[in-house]
Amino acid sequence: MTEPKPPANAAASSGATKASPSAGTKPVASGGTSSRRFGWDRGALARRVTALPTPVKWLLIALFVVFLYALPLLEIPIISTPDTDFGAVLFTVASYVLVALGLNIVLGYAGLLDLGYVGFYAVGAYTVAVLGSFQAHLSWWMLIPLAVLFSTISGLLLGAPTLRVRGDYLAIVTLGFGEIIRLTALNTEWLGAAKGITQVPRPPSVEWFEIPHLQWDGFTAFIDLGDTTKFLFFGVADQAPYYWLALTVIFLVLGADRMLRRSRVGRSWEATREDEDAAELMGVPTFRFKLLAFACGAFIGGLSGALFASRQGFINPESFQLLLSILFVAAVVVGGAGNIYGVTLGAIVVGYLPERFRGFEEWRLLVFGVALILLANFRPQGLLPPRRAKRAIAADEQLEALEEGTARV
C-alpha cells in the first residue's frame, strides 16, 4: 500500500485494516455519503442545541430525563406496545441498553469482537439467584456487588488467556465461553440445572405513594385512578419500578463511561483499536488495556444480568442462549459502535421493535432479519456513528479528493 492507510472506521475490529483494500472498490467515502443521503443533518441540530444558553440546555435535559422516567405511566399510543405490557418491554429495553453500553466498551472502544457477552450476563444473574435463593439467602444489597464482582472476575479469567488471540479468533473463543457458561449451568444440579432457580430475591420495596397511569382514547388522555403504580414496590405484575431502577443504573453507567472515555484509559483503547502495533510502539501496554476493557464490559454485563434476575424472580439456562449474544452485538453495531448514544439507540431498536411489532405475529422475526440487513446496508456506520468515525470519514474524503483518479483501477 503506497497511499497512506485510510483510518479504519471506528467500528471495525482490530483486523479491519488488513481487510480494507481501497483499490477495486469505488473511492466513494462510505458512511459520509450514505448518511447524507439517508439521514437528517444531525450537525445542524447539534449546533442549534449547543448554541442554546446553558440553563435552557439543562432544563431541556432535565425535562427529557423526567419524560424517560414517566414513560411507563404515560402509555403514549404509538410508542406504547399494544400486544404486551409496556412496562415490561421498557425494562427489557433498559437491560439491553445497559448490556449494550457494556459491550460498547469491549467492542466500540477496544475493538474486540465478543460473541459470548451473554456469559457475563449469565454470571451476574446466576450469582444473584444461587446466592440469594438456591444455596444461600444473602440480602439483595449484598448480591448486587457480589454479582458484579464475580462477573468482573470471570471477565479477567476469560480475558487473560484469550486476549492474546487476535481478531476473529477472539470471536469464536468468546462464543465458546458463552456456551460453556450456559451448558455448565444446564448440567450442574448445584446451579439449578434445566429446572432453573425460583424465588430469586427482588429489590427491597418501600411503599410510599401511588402514582396513577394515563389512559388514552384516541388522542385524549385522562388519568386512570384504577391503574396505579406503587412507589416504590417491586412486585410481580407491575414492571414500572424495575424500569426506574434500571434507568437509574443506566444514568450512573453513562456518567462513569463518560469519565472513562475522556481519561488516559479511553485514549489508550482508541489507540489500541486503531492500530495495535503502533500503540504498543508508542508505549501503550495494549494487553493490559484490552483486559481492562474486558473487565469493564463484564462488570456492566454482570450488573445487567443481576437486575434481570431480580426482576424476573426466576432464571433458567434458556434465558442465556447464544442468540442473545448475537442480538447484543447487533444492538451495538446497528446503533454505531463507539458512540454511547448510538448504542443506546441500537439497543432500543433490537429490544423494542420485535415487541412493538408483535402484530406481525409469526412474521416478526423475518421482518427483524430484513430490518437488520437494511440497517447494515444503508447505515453502515450505525444509526449514530461515533464522532471519531465522522472525523475519519472527513479525512478520507479529503484524501480521496486529492488522489482523484489514482485509486480507481
Binding site: A16, P21, L113, D168, I180, L183, V409
Partner: protein
C-alpha cells in the same frame, strides 16, 4: 476410560462421519474468510436450504428404500445436484443482498457481520414460515407435501438402505459411513486442486493474498468473490446430502448449531485454509465423541469449545495456519 478404549473404533468412525459433515460446511466459512476476512454468518442457512432441496427431491420422486440400487443411486445423485444448485444459488443470493453493497462501500467488518446475521435470521424464518408463504401465494394445497409442519422435522426418504460392509473389532462399518467419509475426502481434494490449478482458483488465491495487487493485475475481484460464495455454497449442498444420509431429518433452524460447529472447525484447522477445514472438522468430530465417552454427552460441547481454546492458545492461527493465499501453485 475403559469404555473409551473398548469402543474406540466405533467412536472414531462415527466421530469421523460427523467431522466430515462439519468439514464440508466449514469449507464455506473458510473460503469466504480467506478472501474477504469476513465471517459469513449466513452460511448455515445455505446448508439448510440445500438440505431441504435434497428432501424435496425425494418427496417429489417418492422413491423409498426398496426401489433397487440403480434407482437409489440415481435419486441420490439427483438430490445431490439439487442440493448443490440450491445451496449455490442461496450463497450467491446472500452475496448479492447482504454483502455486495457493503463490500463496495468498504464498510466496517462488523456491519457486514450484522448484515449476514440479518440474512441468516430472514432465511431461517422463510423456511420456518414456508407453509404460511405457500398459503399467501394460494398454493397451500398444491405444495402441501413440501410445506407441511414447517416448524418441525422433515424426513429425508433415504433411497439407500444402510447396511454393514465390514467389521473393525466390534463395530460394523456401514456403507453410509464409508460414503460420507470418502466423499468428504474426495470433495476436499477436488476443491484443493480447483484452487491450485484452475484460473478461478488462482484468482481466489490472488485476492486472498492481496486483493489490491490482484486487482491491479487485472483480476476481477467481484467475480472472484462471487465464485468464492458459489464454491462454498456447492460444498454446503454436498454436506447437506451427506448429513441427511446419516441423520435423516432436517428442520428450519438446524443450520444454526451446525454452523457454529462448522465455524469452530474452520477456526480449529486454521481459518482460510481448505485442508485445515476438513482436518478441523475431523478433530472436532472426534473430540466430541471421545469427550462424550469420557465425561458424558452433556459435556460434549464444553469439551469441543475447551479444545478450541487450548489449540488456539498453543497454535494461535489454528492447526494448519491460515494459508488460502499461500497455497503453492
Amino acid at each position: 476410560m475403559t469404555f473409551l478404549l473398548n469402543n474406540f473404533v466405533e467412536l472414531t468412525v462415527t466421530g469421523l462421519v460427523l467431522g466430515a459433515v462439519y468439514g464440508l460446511v466449514a469449507l464455506g466459512y473458510t473460503l469466504v474468510y480467506g478472501v474477504l476476512q469476513l465471517i459469513n454468518f449466513a452460511h448455515s442457512e445455505v446448508w439448510m436450504f440445500g438440505s431441504f432441496a435434497a428432501v424435496w427431491v425425494t418427496v417429489a420422486i417418492g422413491a423409498g428404500p426398496d426401489s433397487g440400487i440403480a434407482v437409489a443411486i440415481g435419486v441420490l445423485l439427483l438430490a445431490l445436484l439439487a442440493a448443490m444448485v440450491v445451496s449455490g444459488a442461496v450463497a450467491l443470493l446472500i452475496e448479492r443482498v447482504a454483502y455486495r453493497r457493503l463490500i463496495r462501500l468498504d464498510a466496517p467488518k462488523l456491519v457486514t457481520l450484522i448484515s449476514a446475521i440479518g440474512a441468516s435470521f430472514a432465511l431461517a424464518e422463510i423456511m420456518g414460515l414456508r407453509d404460511r408463504l405457500a398459503e399467501a401465494l394460494g398454493l397451500r394445497d398444491e405444495l402441501n407435501s413440501y410445506v407441511r409442519s414447517a416448524r418441525d422435522n422433515t424426513r429425508f426418504l433415504n433411497p439407500l438402505e444402510t447396511h454393514g460392509v465390514f467389521n473393525i473389532g466390534r463395530y460394523t462399518v456401514s456403507n453410509v459411513d464409508i460414503i460420507i467419509i470418502v466423499s468428504a475426502l474426495v470433495m476436499m481434494v477436488a476443491l484443493d486442486q480447483f484452487i491450485r490449478r484452475t484460473h478461478t482458483g488462482r484468482g481466489i488465491r490472488a485476492v486472498a493474498q492481496d486483493s489490491e495487487a490482484a486487482a491491479l493485475m487485472g483480476v476481477n475481484r467481484n467475480r472472484i468473490i462471487r465464485a468464492t460464495f458459489l464454491v462454498g455454497g456447492v460444498m454446503a449442498g454436498a454436506a447437506a446430502l451427506l448429513y441427511l444420509m446419516r441423520f435423516g431429518v432436517t428442520r428450519w433452524n438446524a443450520g444454526f448449531l451446525l454452523g457454529v460447529k462448522a465455524f469452530t472447525a474452520a477456526v480449529l484447522g486454521g481459518i482460510g485454509n481448505v485442508r485445515g477445514a476438513l482436518l478441523g472438522g475431523f478433530v472436532l468430530g472426534l473430540a466430541e465423541n471421545y469427550g462424550s465417552a469420557l465425561v458424558g454427552s452433556e459435556w460434549r460441547d464444553v469439551v469441543a469449545f475447551l479444545l478450541l481454546v487450548v489449540i488456539l492458545l498453543f497454535r494461535p492461527s489454528g492447526l494448519l495456519g491460515e494459508s488460502l493465499g499461500r497455497a503453492r501453485a
